[in-house]
Symmetry: C2
Subunit: 269 residues, 2 copies
């Protein structure tokens, strides 16, 4: 019986053309292709276009399938299996968990990397990657569940002069993608609860939409100004900047439309 | 006279197969291709292999060419120009600066993203991306120049329980790539100067080498153990972990060979 392999292939940011040549080759050469789109998704394509590019059938895994893992691990015991994920693999704990369980079964595992929202947002805004503190994410509030932890991360980063990348929740099964406007509303609601003056109407915020596409939207202004603007289809991400270097201010003006009077004020801080 | 364009194309992590299909298409369709490899490089390939894949001649820019920018901007005024960079573009300030000056000249600019060391290292080690603080980099010390700022970043992150990714310097013109061993020696030297007990022989450290290749090296142990180990050819990166989640400890044991007695001790913290 031949030994199986499990290769996690990052599809990158946006559509079927964001996979690397190495990833494409791995998928075309494997015995079976699985994909999961509940931890992250490609908003510019669908699995049929991916099937066309790979010339292979893709088996879409549910959240339960990935978390239980037995279906994919069973296959990978004797066959070469690719698991497609949006972005760079291993950004979700469930991927790490799946990889460790595959290793426990003696399966060889491999990662093929893809472009990630973590660096893309910084690049699109012209903000320096070295000035980002920890990343946080905003979840859809549910009955009895309204996590305010992103507030603590933003506060901690601001205290250290650092930018905060805020990733926005998706609920793939319900086709719900949190947009920038809802995220801004949630941040203001958390401010109302916590009342520590971290997020106000005057706070400068940055929005990136459809990173990885040929026409991403990139905006920066006060929360007051951006909260009602329409940023188009998902996915959206936010950044709350910390202390800005003068080149970063210039970048926000030229790339993201930060009004020059605000830029001038920031230059003097 | 037709308007020019400047597209920054991320080549991803390691070799000529880490570019995305979108990047490949953009390069094949443009009038002129430039590349710069002084801010970062692909250790698994060379520009001739890239030329073969693109079926195009690549003009390599020196550091001065990129910083001055006039050569590439002049071309991009009337032609469609691609600038190839390792990793994800815009991680170097000089790229941001070049993009802003191109915009000043009325040139349309575009980013095509690539896989980045920032997320790849976390993924390869099985560490959670949300638990990384700011990234830092270690420079080759020079006469009258021995920056100790990475120490402050590690200290700040440790205080907040966060992991620190440490990128290691390259001097492309001299073909010098800092390896993990030299980086560990430098960190211990900085500890000797600062004496705040942040980095000791017992400190747990993680090494990743050749991220993006099919056989990356991934190791985790005390500084004492790893400082003499040979991690093979460049590029190398380090992580100094903060507070570790139990799944992260399991990942370091199974993926990076962290000794189980150390893992057990960490599980009790």
């Amino acid at each position: 019986m031949k030994n199986g392999t499990l290769t996690f292939v990052g599809l990158g940011l946006y559509d079927e053309k964001d996979i690397s040549l190495k990833g494409l080759e791995a998928v075309r050469n494997c015995d079976k292709v699985f994909a999961e789109f509940y931890t992250a998704k490609l908003s510019g394509t669908d699995f049929r276009k991916l099937e066309t590019i790979f010339n292979k059938k893709i088996l879409i895994l549910s959240r339960e399938d990935v978390e239980k893992g037995d279906k994919i691990i069973k296959c990978a015991t004797t066959e070469s299996v690719a698991l497609l994920v949006a972005g760079d693999p291993m950004m979700a704990t469930t991927h790490i968990d799946l990889r460790l369980r595959a290793i426990d079964k003696g399966i060889d595992t491999l990662l093929i990397h893809g472009s990630s929202i973590i660096t893309a947002v910084a690049g699109l805004l012209g903000l320096q990657i070295y000035k980002f503190g920890r990343t946080t994410s905003l979840a859809f509030p549910e009955k009895n569940y309204f996590p305010t932890s992103p507030y603590d991360v933003i506060k901690e980063n601001k205290t250290n002069g650092l930018h905060t990348l805020i990733l926005l929740d998706i609920k793939q099964d319900k086709e719900l993608y949190m947009n920038a406007n809802m995220a801004i509303r949630l941040l203001l609601e958390i401010e109302n609860i916590r009342n520590e003056n971290i997020i106000t109407k005057e706070t400068i915020i940055c929005v990136v939409g459809r990173a990885g596409s040929l026409k991403p939207v990139v905006a920066s202004d006060t929360i007051e100004e951006l909260k009602k603007r329409d940023f188009g289809p998902p996915l959206h991400s936010l950044v709350i900047p910390g202390q800005l270097h003068f080149l970063e201010i210039e970048a926000l003006e030229k790339l993201a439309g930060l009004p020059s009077d605000i830029g001038k004020k920031l230059q003097k801080l």
